[in-house]
Amino acid sequence: MARRRARIEPQGKDEDVRLMAGMITAGVVTIVLIASMLIAPPADVGPEEGSLAPDFVADAYTGSTWEEVRLSELYDGRLIYINFLDTDCPYCWEEGEELSQMHEAFKDDVRFINVMVSLEISGHDSSRAEVEAFRDKTSFGDNENNGDGCYSGRKNCAERPGDPHTWTYVDDLSNSIAKDWDLPGTPFSVILDSSGTVIWNQAQPENHPSGEDVGNALARFLGGN
């Protein structure tokens, strides 16, 4: 009578190899990481002074049409002044005149860029038409408090202080650029050097001479004082 032999299943190793596998994996990844960082170290990107400015691609208005622009493609050897505005913010309304004056004083040495956001506050509901009107100082809305127009919908955009602006206005009404730039509020100013490194951030006054505003900062960087 034939005897059936039970099949013996192979057994695993006595020791648990998973720890060893983990160590091997960690070793391989460490080598790959170190090699990668030696070839091209990660860049320090952010809105803080000394960091590379976060790049962005967005539609921008320069007076006639909206066209896609990329921040890094706007670097042209001049300093870059980035100003975040909301057409419905009362302080931004006043900033319009200051921007006109600064542009007149620094336009040869500084490239001006306005990033137009729409703060998530009641009454702040900017649109591209409103942004165009704010920039060009054209009629949009009326002076009734009916939510239509600039300054929380209380003023006709044509009455904004200052001259019509002639520089690039970037559409960030979705606030996606604002998030990357840790926007604390509006108006908000940042200055970049000609290679895109942040050299002045309004939110870091501890790094600046006492009481320095953006106009003084531009003058300082340009060797004025």
Binding site: E9, P10, Q11, G12, K13, D16, V17, R18, M20, A21, G22, I24, T25, V28, V29, V32, L33, A35, S36, I39, A40, P41, P42, A43, V45, L52, P54, D55, F56, V57, R70, S72, E73, D180, G196
Partner: protein
């Protein structure tokens, strides 16, 4: 860089994919433990190729953050290039994390799981780990489809190193399917 397809680093990754595929294909003619081990080695090779190609896209990303208009390690113009994908701030990250670093993390997990099985294919936990390998690999597929969709439909450029990482994941998944079939057919050992 004139012709990205002649890039020695890309050729290295293509060689890695071919070697991984060869290991996998040759394992089918082997029975028992030898065949399973060979198949696991092919799977490991795919995950290593994926890890290295992801690391290289991270290198390109870091380079292009510094030099947005012309990186040193990959072309920025032409149909096959990195500038429109890795160099574009709209598509080169997921919640601020570069796709390359995410790919490295994913392939590290895949490598670890398969390495555990390869080091002890008879372990009690090996079948469970094979399932982990499958589900972890499958979790990368939606991201793979998203990135291919961006390349083909949105930017209409092909990033060669991203494609190497995508092919590594596809090869890895094919290998895990074959391993699971081997297990179901009681041909594991």
């Amino acid at each position: 860089m004139a012709n990205p397809l002649a890039d020695p680093v890309l050729l290295f990754f293509i060689a890695g994919l071919l070697a991984s595929g060869y290991l996998l294909a040759s394992s089918r003619s082997k029975d028992g433990v030898d065949g399973t081990n060979r198949m696991l080695e092919g799977t490991l090779a795919f995950s290593i190729t994926g890890l290295l190609s992801s690391a290289w896209t991270w290198v390109i990303y870091n380079d292009m953050v510094r030099n947005p208009l012309g990186g040193e390690f990959c072309a920025t113009e032409g149909l096959v290039q990195c500038g429109s994908v890795i160099g574009d701030p709209r598509y080169n990250n997921l919640f601020g994390m570069s796709w390359g670093s995410l790919g490295m993390a994913a392939f590290t997990a895949l490598f670890f799981v398969v390495l555990c099985i390869r080091m002890d294919i008879h372990a009690k936990w090996a079948p469970k780990y094979l399932d982990y390998a499958w589900w972890l690999g499958l979790a990368g597929v939606p991201f793979l489809l998203l990135l291919i969709g961006i390349e083909v439909l949105v930017v209409q450029h092909i990033c060669p190193f991203c494609t190497a990482a995508h092919l590594a994941l596809i090869g890895y998944l094919a290998a895990v399917i074959m391993l699971r079939q081997r297990r179901e057919a009681n041909a594991w050992h």
